[in-house]
Amino acid sequence: MGSLMDARPLASEPYYHPAADECALFEAAYAQRLPVLLKGPTGCGKTRFIEHMAWRLKRPLITVACNDDTSAADLTGRWLLDAHGTRWQDGPLTLAARSGAICYLDELVEARADTTVVMHPLTDTRRMLPLDKHNELVHAHPDFLLVASYNPGGHKELKASTRQRFCALAFGYPATEIEVAIVSHEAGLDMEMAARLVALGVRTRRLQGHGLDEGASTRMLVHAGRLIREGVPPIAACRIAVAAPLSDDAEVSAALLATVDASF
């Protein structure tokens, strides 16, 4: 938790290739301090986008990865016991609200129900966070913004009372030319090899709903590209970075491996 205290704006610009006008829209939402929900499949660039926007807006970014054990106390804070007695420790959400950072709740839908409710007062005009255990009412810093992400394909859904508090930016896999540019930049590959990787990614996405929950993400293609850059032959790189992680099903894996073989 100590490192959270030092949350500062990012020093260098995280690479992000806009797909449309999402940067301008986010800036407008930030100007009005409207909470933003980033929707989209895994590995399509949601986290990179918020890092980029935090850098643009020169705000510190506090990221919380939610899981099904994330409770309200994990976000707001809790009492700790040390040698001198009990001591209150702010959670990441409280810290961000006090200091005026952007608080990014990654995979919000995974968190427990009480977690989503605790942030409701922060997301409307009240902009405050009641800490009942600490007997305190935290008024959010004027620069504070709440951003959450979630993957709509999963088995859980956000409650209407939560989703109606946010503006939502829908992310998808980038258009082919943009994705080629992204893979080429991130992996340090020439455009032709990046285009081959993206074509493979598009092929795996055709199996979505036919044995795969999701096809290869842009992140996955970047991983494969970085292995290729490291000197690994393209087929071997795509086998370990794309085909093998995507599925455990023998039939789908065989089809993916054959597709990788056919692609290079």
Binding site: L207, A250, A254, A255, A262
Partner: protein, 500 residues
């Protein structure tokens, strides 16, 4: 038959031709029909076995993607028709390789050539096909060189010359004339497209010119569940599984004694009798409060006071001073197995209701649940129907199938339990359970010893336990509890049929 071809073609080309098995055992050649892609049961003996099906499917798919044109056979000699086929094969493969260069590596091992000094027509055609697939390969034969020059614009083989069907037809005529001038024999009756992974090219010609494939059409059967549409009779979609049965007198297993026919259940027609089972309020998901935890939302005050006392008195403090709430562990995977024998006629509505409520409760607790049913007509016909599979939703079609269940025939319990165990054992997870809903003890028309099927069922429960599958029973008839106790032991419960 290689089962992974369907996802393979979908990912390569985004096409989903229906795949058929050619059941004729001697057939070794694929062909395309308006119905879909027909593949033989096994690859030819003299080729790389592992990749033959992928090669054949990828080639046929290239036709589906790149061969929209039907050639007019009028005025074409048989040798020219064969050459049109060979050039079109090479053209679609070249176009496919441009997008997927790895396909060349898949197809090349099948192109074995005979470099004799006195080649016949088939030898030359093979050599030409080899050259056209792999432009870096050079063949000195003048006819092959001419074919290559007609096919490509440039020497390196990077530009295709035969872009239009007319150009391809013209090139085939030129090459066919040369074959005639070389006095090479061509036997149209015995000719087969080469190499063996390529289909018979009947798809290139109009339908009335196609080889009469009546016997193929009749003998071909669709593969897999995707091809079995809803309009097909359920019986044809049934998969047959055989299981041993325990003979208590011998005492030994009779191998492959019972045949279980596994099929999707039929939905009920919309009739006044059909109704949605009444929704019952469920208790909220159970949560328990865990005290003295190493981390949590709040202090556990008792533990905190103890820790402070320990610290004050100079002792080591117990760090577990928190309390938190947790949900009860996941419900695991459950297979609800309904006995729909004739004797359950009165109890079937209660059984449906119970099954639906169990399934709903399990799924609300993040469990995974399937509903299957069975009845039997002698050991060769144990009918096993899937009302809801593990991955199906508990939705209206599922309820319609549940309502479509009818009471009929007898109860061969052991075989049904073995099949259910087989299905659930293939699922991942630690807690796997088969929950049987029945009205009483098993019987079947070909068994006269009342204890025989009970002993077999008891054996099936033990086999399941060895595979870490728990078998439990909800019995709706209090009269049968006594005999079923010996089969299920503590896993037996009585369910009152009027529990609504």
């Amino acid at each position: 038959m290689n089962p992974a071809l369907s996802p393979y073609l979908r990912s390569l080309w985004n096409i989903t031709p229906t795949l058929f098995d050619i059941t004729e055992p001697q057939a070794t050649r694929a062909f395309l029909s308006p119905l879909g892609l027909h593949l033989p049961l096994r690859a030819p003996a003299d080729v790389p076995q592992g990749s033959w099906f992928h090669a054949a499917a990828a080639h046929a798919a290239a036709h589906l993607v790149f061969s929209p044109h039907r050639f007019d056979p009028a005025g074409l000699r048989p040798v020219t028709q064969a050459l049109v086929g060979a050039l079109e094969d090479a053209r679609v493969e070249w176009l496919a390789c441009r997008e997927l260069p790895g396909l060349r590596r898949l197809w090349l091992p099948f192109h074995t050539v005979n470099l004799s000094d006195t080649p016949n027509f088939e030898d030359l055609l093979r050599r030409l096909a080899r050259c056209l697939l792999d432009p870096s390969h050079h063949d000195p034969h003048p006819w092959v060189v001419k074919g290559r020059q007609l096919f490509f614009v440039d020497d390196a083989g990077e530009m295709l010359a035969l872009r239009q069907p007319e150009a391809l037809r013209h090139a085939a005529s030129l090459l066919g004339n040369d074959i005639g001038q070389m006095r090479l024999q061509f036997n149209a009756r015995l000719y087969q497209v080469m190499p063996s992974y390529r289909d018979d090219n009947s798809c290139l010609w109009p339908a009335d010119e196609r080889r009469a494939d009546a016997e193929h059409e009749v003998a071909s059967t669709p593969q897999g569940g995707a091809a079995a549409g809803a309009e097909q009779p359920v019986a044809s979609a049934a998969q047959r599984h055989t299981y041993p049965e325990w003979d208590r007198l011998v005492p030994m297993y009779r191998p492959d004694w019972c045949a279980v026919h596994d099929a999707p259940a039929r939905a009920a027609n919309a009739s006044p009798a059909m109704r949605t089972p009444r929704a019952m309020p469920l208790p909220a998901q159970q949560r328990i409060r865990l005290m003295a935890q190493p981390d949590g939302d709040e202090f556990d005050l008792d533990a905190l006071v103890d820790a402070r006392i320990a610290l004050r008195s100079g002792n080591a403090a117990e760090p577990r001073v928190y309390r938190r709430t947790a949900s009860l562990p996941a419900t695991g995977t459950t297979l609800l197995l309904l006995d729909t024998s004739a004797s359950t006629a009165d109890l079937l509505p209660a059984m449906r209701d119970a099954a639906w409520r169990c399934a709903r409760a399990i799924e609300q607790r993040s469990g995974i649940c399937a509903i299957h049913s069975f009845c039997s007509d002698g050991r060769h016909a144990v009918h096993y129907e899937r009302v809801k599979d593990f991955d199906d939703a508990l939705d209206a079609p599922c309820i319609a199938r549940l309502m479509g269940l009818r009471s009929r025939l007898s109860t061969r319990l052991g075989a049904a339990l073995r099949h259910a165990t087989q299905l659930i054992a293939a699922r991942r997870g630690t807690l796997r359970r088969v929950l049987l809903l029945t009205d009483g003890k098993p019987h079947d028309v070909d068994v006269f010893d009342p204890r025989y099927l009970l002993a077999d069922a008891r054996q099936a429960v033990r086999e399941a336990a060895r595979r870490h599958v728990l078998v439990e029973c909800l019995c709706l008839d209090p009269q049968a509890l006594r005999s079923l106790r010996g089969v299920f032991g503590a896993g037996l419960r009585h369910l009152r049929a009027d529990t609504r």
